[in-house]
Amino acid sequence: MKYLCLICAEKVMEQMPRPDADKHFEEYREFTDAVRKSGHYLGCNRLLPPDAASTVRVRDGRISVTDGPWVETKEQLGGYYLIEARDLNEAIQVAARIPGARFGCVEVRPVAEDAQTLQALGFDTQEAAA
């Protein structure tokens, strides 16, 4: 099964003192290397800080764009890992090793893999099983 691990923290890399950020990057390199080797890894990315965000809405056929993220919380989304795990507990175990989990938190969300979703997103069942 696939799980998306959303990393939330009060400070993203850009907001950390340089040495702290360097250390944190190094931890992420190590972690990512480990999950690639273990076969859990499907994808990951780091996001630029929320002040780089634009929020898009379409109402009555008109596009509206506002600055910033759509929610204002202390903890901000900083990046994600998409992983493959046997079950939720294995996913939690992997998520617990994401370096950000020790400063902020990681939300683990199962990826919807029902037939309607797979069809709508253009994944055939074979691909989903792989």
Partner: protein, 430 residues
């Protein structure tokens, strides 16, 4: 968006010889993974680390076996690879300051004589150690069942949640907490000493029977997955009897098999409940009954009968009767008397009352049930009121029967039982 890193997965690239090895690895995963896991916990002293080691070992098998061939003793290979990988992981993490939460862990056995691969006792002992640890009395009951199903039976968190009609995060949390508790309380990974065994075994048997009943009361939710749960409990029961043939373990397995034999007959195709006396006995699975009955005899010969063996014996007496009318109620009452001595409980008393009604007539049974209810016990137990209602009905005391059926109906949430009680009420009105 799903870009699986294909280059790190050599097996996927070289079909079809690799496909054969992959199939072999999957087969070994099904038959051996729980054994390997149980041994890794002993060697590494930690559930999570063992799980990672297990995962890494099977991953390594997928990578290496296509080239190197399947080893002569796959289990030993997987254990030593899993241990090696886990120790490596620990070292790597120590370098990266992850040590805070590792300090407390017992050091992964440097003891090379811990002889992971040797067949026979030690490996099977590991499976027993795992069962006893997962069913440890210091863990909350719900955690015991979730942990046992995941770690011993290999079910996924999501499957357990579905079977127990619970949300997966709730089950996941129970499992995480239970493992933390095992670690923090430093619960020993061991088969209990003889003196401690009866109490500890009782906890194991309770977990297994709870899992069985959860699957047997096909009342709510997806009845198919619930049936699987009973199958899982029976598999666990068989494993326990194989590893530790204590009379009560044998008794529980017998009880489950005989109850399971009636599964098809106890509901109509529409899902309505059919009571024992109205069941089509040709639909009972006689193979299971024969196996269960033989086990009952084995359990009873092994010493003073315990509660599970006695309940199994009662189920066996029912199973022996070719038609409901031929049931040996005198013997059943006698077995309930023994059961009451061993394990006094108002529910057993209630069942004895029903048996007495069958042996001596409804008035005698009603007297027993009213004695219990007048003591103020079982007032909220729907089956007590349903039994009372049934006996009143048979005595022609319809007004009382109606009151008791209505009370039973108010107390039960199980859909099949509700429909059954509603039918009985409607019949009374007619």
């Amino acid at each position: 968006m799903v870009d699986r890193d294909a280059s790190s997965d050599p097996v996927r690239q070289s079909m079809p010889a690799a496909a054969a090895v992959r199939a072999k690895v999957e087969e070994i995963y099904r038959t051996e993974s729980r054994r390997v896991f149980a041994t890794l916990i002993r060697l590494l002293g930690d559930f999570d680390l063992a799980e990672e080691g297990l995962h890494d070992a099977f991953r390594a098998a997928l990578e290496q076996w296509p080239e190197q061939g399947v080893p002569a003793n796959p289990r030993a290979w997987l254990v030593s690879t899993g241990r090696f990988k886990a120790v490596d992981t620990l070292r790597r993490r120590a370098r990266f300051d992850f040590v805070e939460d590792l300090d407390d862990r017992p050091h992964p056995a440097g003891d090379e004589s811990a002889d992971e691969g040797s067949p026979g006792d030690s490996v099977e002992d590991d499976r027993l150690r795992l069962i006893f640890t997962c069913c440890h009395p210091t863990l909350p009951t719900e955690a015991r069942t979730a942990l046992t199903l995941r770690e011993v039976c290999g079910l996924t968190t999501e499957e357990i949640a579905r079977a127990f009609l619970t949300a997966p995060p709730t089950v996941a949390q129970r499992i995480v907490r239970a493992k933390a508790r095992i670690r923090d309380a430093r619960l020993r990974y061991e088969v209990p000493e003889r003196a401690e065994l009866p109490a500890r075994l009782d906890s194991v048997l309770r977990v297994i029977y709870l899992v069985f009943n959860e699957g047997y009361s096909a009342s709510a939710g997806d009845s198919l997955t619930r049936a699987d749960l009973s199958g899982e409990a029976i598999r666990l029961g068989r494993l326990l009897v194989e590893l530790l043939p204590e009379p009560e373990a044998i008794g529980l397995l017998a009880l489950m098999l005989i109850q399971e034999s009636r599964r098809a007959a106890r509901t109509t195709p529409a899902g309505d409940l059919v009571l024992l006396d109205a069941q089509d006995r040709s639909r009972w699975l006689h193979e299971l009954i024969a196996e269960g009955t033989a086990l009952v005899e084995r359990a009873l010969l092994a010493g003073p009968a315990g509660p599970y063996a006695l309940q199994a014996a009662i189920a066996a007496v029912h199973a022996e009767a070719p038609v409901a009318g031929a049931t040996d109620w005198a013997q059943i009452v006698g077995l309930y008397d023994l059961l009451l001595q061993r394990e006094p409980s108002p529910v057993v008393e209630l069942n004895r009352g029903v048996a007495i009604a069958m042996r001596d007539g409804p008035a005698a049974g009603l007297a027993v049930i009213d004695t219990i209810l007048n003591r103020g016990e079982l007032a909220d137990y729907h089956l007590a009121h349903a039994a009372r209602a049934d006996l009143c009905r048979r005595l022609g005391r319809h007004a009382e029967a109606r009151v008791a059926y209505t009370r039973a109906l108010a107390l039960t949430r199980q859909a099949t039982e509700r429909r059954f009680l509603e039918r009985r009420l409607a019949e009374l009105a007619a």
